[in-house]
Symmetry: C2
Subunit: 464 residues, 2 copies
């Protein structure tokens, strides 16, 4: 028996690792030995007979283990030269230690970043109950490859819910389920590109992630002017579509003025353009009934977008589009040949909506967030009289107007305090024409209840 | 009071619809009236005072309802001309009746299409238990926007599982969670395109969906020759990558010969090419231990793909990639800025794997499918001696070789019998060079247990 094999024999630890049977234990041990370089390429292995004797096991077991490893390419077996470690056997796993690891970003003590609801308030028990009911009711073939538009149960539940709560005019045939707004916007960009659209006008304030996604799809994204009536869509001449947040401009917080709503619908009708209505937090309005969806005015010219990310949690990855009937097929095709969104989550959300749990959860969140909003307004007014709180009629965030020139230093001070916060300039379109405002965008829904008071205190400390 | 208003008053049904309060009921009723065309554009509405008197409600309620609808664009309010239905008020919902509906395809009585497991065997109770444990253990911020690579719990569980069961060499840093193989291939195509790859060689047999996806991404997909040793990768000269099913060629069922495994790894090392290893049903081998993953031979040159679609259910939309460490960041970036796969499903699968429920389920399926495979082989041999069953050492389907020239008529006869079935030509690359074979691809895992005997009987009836 060769030297190298004696060493291997010692390291095999065959006796205890019988979990998968002797042959499996032997195969794994041999594979590891080759993998880690303990057995160098070209090393000749003992005959199956001698190894079997050495290990006190059946010869056949060794022969089968060798055959497995020959089949996998670790060993070679040639007439006359016995079994050897293959010449191309690999170096140690290159990922171990050598590769640059992604460092986890350091977590701030407090976060008031906008766009995230209180995740600690996610209704875990109710969600699981709905999941159990949904799974019990689902036919077995619901678990197969599905219609790209999404599960019919969820499309029907959403069609009813959106008509009732947001004034959206739809039916299940024109609803498309997505994994969130980003996915929906990707689908839309592909669909617009295929229709020859080259320009999607956007608002002066918003999220660069979305503008970037449109640009990546080859679309130009000029910025529309913004004033106290919201986004001015008067200059839409060349655009094939416009991306708006009509119910509650993100992040400025103003609803689109009725005249402007009428004007943009008129533009779409006149030119065949499309309005992309991002109704990202439509359920959350505190002092009066929410402004209805623009889609209701022109279902044939508006693509409506909503998600469960603000009302439940982003981690569900559930969103929806309501499409003009003429575009429903094209959008489903742009999404792909089969559904890409998990069926169980879809069925659970459908059950969650139809059972009334969704309405109850939204109402309870509305109460929680309204209290926080009121506390924010009261604290800022008491402790930072130079700061004006705006955009708080609705939504999960407020805009705090600062004295001119102060935004950068306040955001910097917040970072020092371990408070994650965006200045308004973070959300400003690079080609926006209006005078830049110094302001903070404060996501007051973001902290869990237990951290809210601390986050508010940290905010007040950095305000001028 | 005008005529049109009297009509409207009758139709308002205000008394019973008090669910959302009087104002809400009034707003909804008015909106509906405009929407359905009952109130034509330009129609002047009664003053809020007179309508309030008429309805016996507070004037303020009517004024607020009017204001809501002005804000939404349904009505206009102008000094001196009162409140009117807006000129741009929409026609009835264009989707109702007018749009072409997608017809549900007629369902065949039996399906033996490949690629789908027995969905009736989905372990609903165990899955829900895992979901409950996973959700109870999850930190609240797991429900937020996540790392595009996927949840660390699932990446760790998969890294361990794939190393143990498939001989994959990885760690959680190089695992990427996807919504299935299609999503993973999309990510890969984007990544390859960005690296300047123009050609991905594919096998002579496979799925046109995948080839089409690569072509859509601008990649050429020439076919490699195929023989009894599997795909011949000798002619890979110009390709930047090759898409293979090494453990169990889809659909032919042969494992890639050890020499060919070595040769393709050698090609990749020599040229810097990438092997895309689709390990679509790696867990299912019946007569001996599965062939290990090719990835284990060259983790720095192989992108490994797996999913839960065959082992659990396609509807979960859960898949994974194992990437060479040098490509892990690029793949995560190609997936997008945040995770697009539902967090709860990811956490549940992680718990399902680490608790041992996944192994138990796979073993139980293996037993079920092996019995079906044996029944298929026995029935065909007894009732159709001219037909040869091949490719049955592993996987969820078999290839039934027919006498020359018979494929089309057998597939046609199956369709008449209500039996969904693919001929091998359905899976043949248009540029494949080998002589076409007449054969059927029979997915024997597809029917639920209750329908299996009937499906097998239907199959035997159409065989020559």
């Amino acid at each position: 028996m060769e030297e190298s094999w004696a060493t291997l024999g010692v390291d095999l630890h065959l006796e205890p690792t019988g979990a998968g049977g002797l042959r499996r234990g032997l195969t794994d041990a041999l594979r590891d030995a080759v993998r880690t370089g303990r057995l160098a390429p070209g090393t000749r292995l003992p005959s199956s007979r001698s190894l079997a004797t050495d290990l006190g096991i059946a010869r056949n077991t060794v022969a089968e283990a060798y055959a497995d490893l020959v089949a996998e390419g670790w060993l070679t077996a040639r007439q006359g030269s016995g079994t050897r470690v293959a010449a191309g056997a690999p170096a140690p796993f290159p990922g171990t230690g050598a590769s640059p690891r992604r460092r986890e970003p350091e977590r701030p003590a407090h976060s008031l970043l906008p766009g995230i609801p209180d995740l600690a308030a996610f209704p875990r028990t109710e969600w699981l109950k709905a999941a159990r009911r949904a799974l019990a009711a689902a036919p077995y073939d619901a678990l197969g490859y599905g219609d790209p538009r999404g599960r019919p149960e969820l499309r029907a539940a959403l069609a009813g819910y959106l008509a009732r709560v947001r004034g959206v005019r739809t039916d299940p045939e024109t609803v498309l389920i997505t994994s969130g707004f980003t996915h929906a916007l990707r689908i839309t960009a592909a669909m617009l590109g295929a229709r020859g659209v080259r320009t999607v006008a956007v608002e002066s304030y918003g999220l660069d992630t979305y503008w970037g996604l449109l640009r990546q799809a080859g679309l130009a994204t000029p910025a529309l002017p913004f004033d106290e009536h919201g986004t001015d869509t008067g200059g839409l001449h060349g655009a094939g579509a416009v991306l708006l947040t009509p119910a509650h401009q993100f992040p400025m917080g103003t609803p689109l003025h009725p005249d402007r709503r009428a004007a943009v619908v008129d533009w779409a009708r006149r030119t065949g353009g499309l309005v992309l209505e991002d109704d990202y937090d439509g359920e959350f309005r505190y002092d009066r009934q929410p402004v209805g969806a623009l889609q209701g005015l022109a279902p044939d010219r508006v693509v409506y977008f909503g998600t469960a990310s603000k009302s439940l949690a982003p981690g569900l990855r559930l969103g929806w589009m309501v499409l003009p009937p003429s575009l429903a097929e094209a959008a489903a095709a742009a999404k792909g040949g089969t559904d890409t969104v998990g069926v169980l989550e879809q069925l659970t959300l459908a059950e969650f909506i139809t059972s009334g749990a969704y309405d109850r959860h939204v109402r309870s969140c509305r109460l929680r967030y309204r209290r926080r909003r009121d506390a924010l307004a009261a604290s800022v007014s008491a402790r930072a009289p130079e700061v004006t709180v705006t955009g708080i009629a609705a939504g999960l965030h407020a805009v705090l107007l600062l004295p001119p020139g102060m935004e950068r230093s306040v955001v910097q001070a917040a970072a020092w305090q371990g408070l994650a916060l965006h200045g308004l300039s973070f959300h400003r379109h690079p080609q926006a024409v209006a005078e830049p405002l110094d302001a903070l965008v404060v996501g007051y829904a973001t902290p869990p209840d237990s951290a809210w008071a601390g986050a508010l205190e940290a905010l007040c400390r950095v305000l001028p």
